[in-house]
Symmetry: C2
Subunit: 322 residues, 2 copies
Amino acid sequence: MADAGGLERVIERGRAGDPRALARLISLVENGTGELRPIMKALAPHTGRARVVGLTGAPGVGKSTVTAALVAAYRERGLRVGVLAVDPTSPFTGGALLGDRVRMQDHATDPEVFIRSMASRGHLGGLSRATPQALRVLDAAGFGVVLVETVGVGQAEVAVASVADTTLVIAAPGMGDAVQAAKAGILEIADVFVVNKSDKPGAQETVRDLRTMAGMARRGEGDWKPPIVTTAAVRGEGIAELVRRSGEHWAWLDSSGEREVRRRARAREEISAIAVAELRERAGGLPGDTRLDVLAGKVADGEIDPFAAADEIVAAAVAARG
Amino acid sequence: MADAGGLERVIERGRAGDPRALARLISLVENGTGELRPIMKALAPHTGRARVVGLTGAPGVGKSTVTAALVAAYRERGLRVGVLAVDPTSPFTGGALLGDRVRMQDHATDPEVFIRSMASRGHLGGLSRATPQALRVLDAAGFGVVLVETVGVGQAEVAVASVADTTLVIAAPGMGDAVQAAKAGILEIADVFVVNKSDKPGAQETVRDLRTMAGMARRGEGDWKPPIVTTAAVRGEGIAELVRRSGEHWAWLDSSGEREVRRRARAREEISAIAVAELRERAGGLPGDTRLDVLAGKVADGEIDPFAAADEIVAAAVAARG
């Protein structure tokens, strides 16, 4: 891939939707190698069209099942669909656990569906660091909708909202997670609430709990009011309604101007993350530089305080200019 | 508090363990005002003695109950005990939800126990940004043990391990969370596994699941093997055993040299976080500087790619030198 012409051809084939080229491009941006920047530069003019739908919720609510059902539903509506499934790295496999994604294989032979599992590699927030870049690859390849499924609760939910146009927060009955979910701040990020496994006992209670909590959230005139959709995704029930409600949110994003606000916020977030990573590297990553280690030892021994140590690091980062 | 002599007196009283002074100091470091640096500087020589025990686990496993039981147990052993309870900010109260901490009030009148709830303010990782600094305040005040309780699963667990000497990962039967917990990487961070609510059906299965998973983790010769302790914290059962096992881990930290390794890693983490925050501020926070907004607009419109935008931000941060 050192060959620039080779990279250009992969980018071209990826933009045309070739699955092998897409897989290669995402691997390249995920690994953060030297190809990352030329790829991003080449794709930039072709981005900004895909609709990104984030799916999040506590473990066990059936996120993968809902994702698979949505893939089928959007395919029926003629859209090409991308899926990014972001899994925490398992400490004992060193890779993404694919166990409960098996049902995704229903779509594995559909050339208009591209599914990619990404390891989160311990990155705070539960998203892979490369998620925004992988989204750009799929966006530039003309996928009409990209579903981003994250595992975990709490901070991961906030992170997925930062990359999605529409965020689906999924709950299930009898997990006692409604109140906990509120604590984790999901009221703020949910555009649509989904109560999956609606055939299980307690579904109506979960709906009621969510409705009560959603009613407590501060929302102004003209703000989007997140609807609550009940689904039994394993049987496809409620999925048409979920697609409809998500579509209404998409329409509202346009009519309210919020879509542009979110796209810009997303870009801000992405730029900041890259800039901070670069500054951090300057501060601690100079060849043979053990400055941070030495300072950490002094702080651990109480010789200096961490703020004084940070000042030295910042000074070093700035001095590394050029 | 503009009066430097006044600040000195608060620091002095805080070091002597005065609860009101401690509360004031933690508020000052939490708010990150101008007093933060002089406080940290004054306390630095007196830190490095407290034993920090992190408690984490999925919502509903009984973390607060275990925390309260441990407070009682350490008090019986004559230790002064600090508690930092880190809650995600509730979007509708704007503050920490204290609901299930009511039982902590058992200890509210004990002058040798200091309890503080901290809002996480949406900080990634589920810990308050000020947690390391608040720990320093309690450390310098001579608390023998400080318990840090975090809400949430997944990334928050990793974050608590970065501030704790000993990390207790708490599970409960029948929540289907054992396998999920493995996904979230807890095998790596658990020093002691706690199966709470051991009187509930399925406790032995949870123990067995944890044992199987713990056995799969890669650990070398001489590495600590996390024990599994069963508790019914609400009745105080198993708490003496938990204290004993945690004590064994503390002894191992010393004998293996791992304690020093962790203290240094913690200091590294703390310094880096402060340095990155400062660099980030330089990059985006110049008065009247809307550079990031302008660049975000260009990225959102596909005019430039986010890496080119980040380069401009880094150049600006570095140029802000002096």
